[in-house]
Symmetry: C2
Subunit: 435 residues, 2 copies
């Protein structure tokens, strides 16, 4: 499976991953059986949950993770690796296993959201790519999920592409859709992932024309009345009058992109109703984050357009996930300076629920304790096989399923967990070391 629309992933890797492999190949430790885990030591300041996102993108890139001869040549020529390592890289293909939380699953500090097992060399070589994909996509999905909660069922359009790196923008659109956004402005996300795309018009389109009415007439002529006219280029009230005069009451929506949106939404609604256009919807945009969206809950807004805050993770642009070696040849390993919550050994994770379905605890077990664990009714095993022997397992959930899964998961967390204010993680995680 070749990755669509972006480069080969193997060199999206830190220099030291390959020098470590070089040394480990030479001393034989490269082949030691190893387990690495991805987890977050903490959530971003005050956040109550994390959202697993990016797994689908990661598996796609894992399948394409091979070294092109030009890449190997570059590494050899610049002295990053020696001949033996160059040869190993030229034949590299991941042949290990990956297990992980489903995309769309919630996570909390110390949740082992991804587990990679295989030889040391084949696991460590994936570190940078795995963390890049997950740290980015999880950050965006968590911010987007809070906006979806704040919007209380009103649809959201992701329109932040211009405020993010051009490829990060595509991944952001995917993560926001996963989190419950209804559509994106990003066309590449439409092509690659089948996400519905949407758009209105920019102020430039109005400025291009001789007057606002001419711009509106042109847009309606091309796109039909089921379009959204941007009414705040000059005067908003006049803009709305012009919109209805040109398109009639069958127009889909008007968009307001500036000013005090709560006042303007109410005034615009009143004016539209007065003009006999009660079915024309109101789209608002302009630096909306979860708090601004929540503040508009009582106003007659029909659709939110969110941009910068989504693609920058609304103050937390990276998820703080780390990739740690936890087991070598069956023996748990741990860095001495880690905080006490970090324990070595491969982990098994359950989430425990009340009979009502509310999540009360996440239980992370290691070593022997995992084997002897006695699941209770309402416990849900959080990890599932993703890759076996280097090949993706059959029937991995698609983006739509992951989207549904997140919606279902958010229903299970205690109600405080959905508050936008700063607080503790919604579900405590207990890590129990092997006994």
């Amino acid at each position: 499976m070749q990755k669509t629309g972006a480069g080969a992933p193997a060199l999206l890797t830190d220099h030291y991953e390959l020098t470590m492999i070089s040394a480990a190949l030479r001393d034989g430790t490269a082949h030691r059986s190893s387990v690495f885990e991805v987890f977050a030591r903490r959530l971003p300041q005050g956040r109550r949950y994390g959202v697993v996102a990016g797994t689908g993108r990661l598996l796609e890139q894992l399948a394409a993770f091979t070294f092109h001869p030009d890449e190997v040549d570059f590494l050899r020529r610049t002295g990053v690796v020696d001949d033996a390592t160059a040869e190993w890289l030229a034949g590299f293909r991941f042949s290990g296993d990956v297990d992980g939380y489903a995309e769309g699953e919630l996570f909390f500090p110390n949740s082992p959201i991804l587990t990679v097992s295989g030889t040391f060399a084949e696991c460590v070589i994936l570190e940078t790519l795995i963390l890049s994909v997950l740290n980015h996509d999880c950050a965006i999905a968590a911010a987007a999920a809070r906006m979806v909660t704040a919007a209380r069922g009103r649809p959201l359009i992701e329109m932040g592409s211009r405020r993010a790196h051009e490829e990060a923008a595509v991944a952001s659109a995917r993560a926001a859709y996963l989190a419950g956004f209804g559509s994106t402005s990003n066309l590449a996300a439409g092509l690659r992932y089948g996400i519905p795309t949407a758009g209105t018009a920019a102020h430039a389109f109005t400025l291009l024309h001789d007057d606002e009415k001419a711009a509106f007439a042109s847009q309606v002529a091309a796109l039909g009345e089921q379009t959204t006219l941007l009414v705040d280029t000059y005067d908003i009230s006049q803009g709305i009058r012009n919109a209805i005069a040109v398109a009639g009451p069958g127009l889909r929506a008007v968009r307001i992109d500036s000013g005090d949106l709560s006042v303007l939404a109410a005034q615009s609604r009143a004016l539209l109703d007065e003009l006999g256009a009660p079915d024309v919807k109101i789209v608002v945009s302009g630096d909306l984050d979860e708090y601004a969206i929540a503040a508009l809950a009582a106003e007659p807004v029909d659709v939110y357009g969110a941009g910068t805050a989504v693609v920058t993770g609304s103050g937390a642009p990276t998820a703080g996930l780390v990739y740690k070696l936890v087991e070598v040849d069956g023996r748990p390993v741990v860095k001495r300076s880690e905080n006490k919550a970090t324990v070595g050994g491969r982990k098994t994770a359950y989430r425990r629920h009340k009979p009502t379905g509310t999540a009360v605890e996440e239980i992370v077990l290691t070593g022997a304790s995992a084997v002897t664990a006695d699941p209770q009714p309402g416990d849900r095993l959080l990890q599932r096989p993703l890759v076996r022997g280097g090949e993706p397992v059959a029937d991995l959930p698609g983006l739509e399923q992951s989207r549904t899964h997140l919606r279902d998961c958010l229903i299970t967390i205690p109600w405080e967990g959905l508050k936008l204010s700063a607080g503790d993680p919604a579900v405590p995680v207990t890590v129990t070391a092997a006994t």
Copy 2:
């Protein structure tokens, strides 16, 4: 020129750019001669300057900005564009002009850093890509430049790839190098841009081995004594003793990645000296930003490794640049709700300097005033041709030249401008409208 290692750029575009083109093609305004400008209304909170970065990446993608038949088919099939627009897209190639500030140039609020002229359709279609590239790269370069200043001549390694989207990581490495970082951990940045790559080892490498000495011996055997040993996996003092015992006093460096770095740097220096290894350098890393780097100025640190703070723009992950239509068929246009500093019409920008070389003012002139402007000695014209008739001009500066240019520019700003504390833009910008 085909872009290296990343996808085709044409669909990295907002839906509405193409629907606007659809409408404008139908009513004939698509062909109106237009000028768009990129500028920031403000700098991120308290920042004193911005850094132009990404221009080189942008021009590379501009050359590859054509629509693949599959992309056109997608747009037609999903109803984004009609047949006439699909046909226009299939034959699209930018044929206009681009002028801009040099990569590595400083900018301030309202500096017209990029000017795109051509037909409305061929200019508007580039909006999203231009802003994605510049908003990302300028954000990273500005943060990185502050870290370089804080490091006071000590070298910096960019090692944040794992905390950013995998392709944004490559662009971040490039922007950080432009800003004066000495190297990056990102191998793709090494291959694509010729940036020196560097790396040490991870804690996993030590944990993989039976003990720390075995890990160090393996690394030195593979990479020679000109390598950097990571000494904080278990106990730092013992780690340093092990490092010198294994590698001898010819070892290049030790790295410390945790703990109170100011205390540990001093203790480590004393211990290395005591062990007869005065030439072994100390590399520190671990959530370093410009403030943490500045706080280490008095400590015996030789090299800084910075990661998360670089790739997330140290609190300002996007530069806030906008792309605005300022002229149609020679007539200045402006959105009525803009703040007063925004004026229509194509602009010309100079920076005025004292005889000592210190920049005192940036003068932005529009329309007739630009023609009659009378440059003084010490004025420097900031815009230069980048693209003519769709083709990049000859002899555009490369990354090394841009890096030098930034260093030269930073010398010219008033000394307050280099302070890390919050403040006003270092150089005021005066925008004078046509008279």
